[in-house]
Symmetry: C2
Subunit: 248 residues, 2 copies
């Protein structure tokens, strides 16, 4: 279902993304829009999505939160978190595009929380409080069954114990024709990249060095394979590399 | 000797580099110009400076040569290799800046050639033919003594057996007030980064994925530490991240 029927060759036309309206479709042609699996991540220049020594107090590890300063500064991020103001322009366009047309989210258990093993009394309800910023069904990959957890604002966490493809199937069904986003973390993204299930990938590379932590691009069996860059643009804070899966 | 006396805080002023004349000084202030140790490298988005399965026929490994397509396309690269034509603009400006004011080069033995152990009959004279593109003294880090090798066009290879600091000292002396460039490869750059001897660092990140090979940012003891980004600009082919060593 996620296979595209037609792909334009757009390498080198980096400007195409810069002029996209949020939510418009980067290069998929004239066909009726098909739901996609999308993933975007911010990495340090040395390749880390999270820093060393992750902990309950520091879920992104040392230096990890700072990777996202470029996004925190945008109007769209601030608006989706109940704040006024923020920057508009290139970076905001990219944040906005990634927040549009998402009907469901998939995440790894480590991203959902620090609990390991069985869920116990199910007291952990995620990092995000009573009204998480997803506003969609969220499918959490886990080996341990748990009842769905409905929070405010349209976010319901579902716990999926039968693998990444089952999670994707359920997420697509829940998304009702919209796209599915992989929320993270690195290990979950790597599983979907190895399976070549991600249709659209954007990597935001910031100039920071973390020195250690979780790398996005490893454990990929020599990949990621089969992705074509369709856009490279930058602000002074971050460069955005956008890929689509090619037909091979 | 390489310590700067004054550093301007220029983070966020990415435009500053874009308008630099080739060879001008990115943010070092008004002091008399001091010789610097400079290093620039092109890396894939997954962090590799060379691909897997390096060999005599394929010294940069599979996919490694393609990392440099952005540079090969520039007018400056073509001119320095005896060819007409080529692109001008942002990428050419960066190639030109890195070819300017270099009075000596340092490289690792792996970059000089595939010979291991003692030099034997000294038949190996580098990858670059009779007229290498350096046109300066080149100091090759090695554990095996060898007489200097003088080739055409001003390139003489000197073989340094007493470590990176000795090589730097000799290179600075030979450079006669100009800068010293680290030619590569990754392991040599890592040694100088660990020792915090590199004054100016530029990383050209291209959208390619190599999947395996030599990573630039590893074996750095949690670093590189102490570098400040002073420029981030991009063309559709490559993003240029420029750093200077800060005073800490």
């Amino acid at each position: 279902m996620l296979r595209r029927r037609r792909v334009f060759r757009t390498r080198g036309s980096a400007a195409s993304l810069a002029i996209l309206e949020p939510g418009s479709d980067p290069g998929y042609g004239d066909d009726a829009r098909m739901p996609k699996l999308r993933f975007n991540a911010t990495v340090s220049l040395d390749g880390y999505v999270a820093g060393p020594r992750q902990s309950l107090e520091n879920p992104l590890g040392e230096g990890g939160l700072g990777l996202h300063d470029w996004a925190f500064a945008t109007r769209t991020f601030r608006a989706t978190h109940g704040m006024d103001g923020g920057e508009t322009g290139l970076d905001d366009d990219h944040v906005a595009a990634w927040n549009t047309k998402i009907g469901a989210t998939i995440m790894g258990r480590n991203m959902f929380g620090p609990v390991r093993g069985s869920w116990g009394d199910a007291a952990w309800t995620g990092w995000w409080g009573d009204d998480p910023p997803f506003h969609t069904p969220v499918f959490v990959l886990t080996h341990y069954r748990r009842r769905p957890l409905e929070l405010q604002g349209g976010t319901t966490f579902h716990f999926v114990t039968d693998g990444i493809e089952a999670a994707l199937e359920r997420a697509l069904e829940a998304a009702g024709g919209l796209d599915v986003s992989i929320g993270g973390g690195a290990e979950t993204a790597q599983q979907y990249l190895r399976a070549r299930l991600i249709d659209e990938l954007e990597v935001h590379v910031v100039p920071a060095f973390l020195g250690a932590g979780s790398r996005l691009f490893e454990n990929l069996d020599g990949g990621p394979a089969g992705y074509e860059c369709v856009g490279l643009v930058s602000s002074p804070a971050v460069a955005h590399y956008t890929y689509i899966r090619n037909g091979q």
